[in-house]
Amino acid sequence: MKQTNINKRLSDTHLVFLFVLFALYCLSSQTLAGNWKDLTEDGLHDPQNPSLYLLQNPGDALSRLPADSAGNQVDWIRALNDGYIRPRSSLKENVPVRILDSDILLNKTGSIPRVRFPHKPHTQLLDCQNCHEKLFKSKAGATMISMGQILEGKYCGVCHGAVAFPLTECNRCHSVPWDTINANEMDKP
């Protein structure tokens, strides 16, 4: 009986330690979430540059946009759809904006979840010719893509990992588990 009491007290102490570590971890992820460096101290801009003070600091703009955990720590598509930002679609007049609302299912992913490629958020920002026909053929399944090539900066990796959300965010693309939907339910391109 006495032995169990001691064991309990021991485990209480360990729980306290684990809790403190967990709290520190939460605190750090909170503070890192909005960790935009000022231009003078980002290690890239020259602090000796007399014009530097005229430039906007990232935190001044990005802290007001919907938060994300990766990249610029901004959910750019939500910022666009919720009206936080209204970026111009062209410089000249009468430049067509072609939006396509169709999902492509990439199912040669082995045992990990399949990839749903949503055309809509991509065409809200990019033109068709940015991806077709140079990077990807328009016919679904006609372009052989491997994760290795993407990690080298080809195909999706032209943007993702460089300027769009990084390749550490596996589930954002690999989002369709094998046991949920039938491939026929997805739109054909």
Partner: protein, 143 residues
């Protein structure tokens, strides 16, 4: 109940040193992660330095975050013809003053004109050209 470092029988709370080491290791990993994950520059900043250093000018920093608040990707990458690969565009001041590339907007009409050298040419001298991914990855293929 006040927390003591020894149990009622005088034994240390950390019955085995292994557990203490485990906590120390956890704390160490935590501090390491905290130290390395502090971003340097902003994600998707592009440094242009084909000629700047040679010409005695600071390299150029193009901040994607600033521009995508104001323009959709298609404006520069389709309408203006910027290739979507850092280094693939041969951008010269000559072309810019003729209204190409950056000069399509940086003409005093849509955005401030090219006389403001230091607003673009703002990187530390010697910064290599390329995509500077500040958060989690450091550009294509670099984890």
């Amino acid at each position: 109940m006040p927390m003591k470092w020894t149990s009622p029988e005088g034994k240390p709370i950390f019955a085995t040193w292994n557990l203490l080491f485990l906590y120390l290791a956890l704390a160490g990993i935590f501090i390491f992660v905290l130290g390395t994950s502090s971003a340097k520059s902003e994600y998707a900043d592009i440094v242009l330095n084909k000629r700047s250093d040679q010409e005695g000018e600071r390299p150029v920093i193009f901040p994607h975050w600033f521009h995508r608040i104001r323009f959709q990707c298609r404006v520069c990458h389709s309408e203006l013809g910027f290739e979507m690969r850092a280094g693939a565009n041969d951008v010269t001041m000559d072309e810019i003053t003729k209204g190409k590339f950056c000069g399509a907007c940086h003409n005093g009409d849509i955005a401030w004109p090219v006389e403001n050298c230091g607003l673009c040419h703002s990187a530390l001298p010697g910064t290599p050209a390329g995509v500077i991914g500040g958060h989690q990855t450091s550009g294509p293929g670099n984890w």
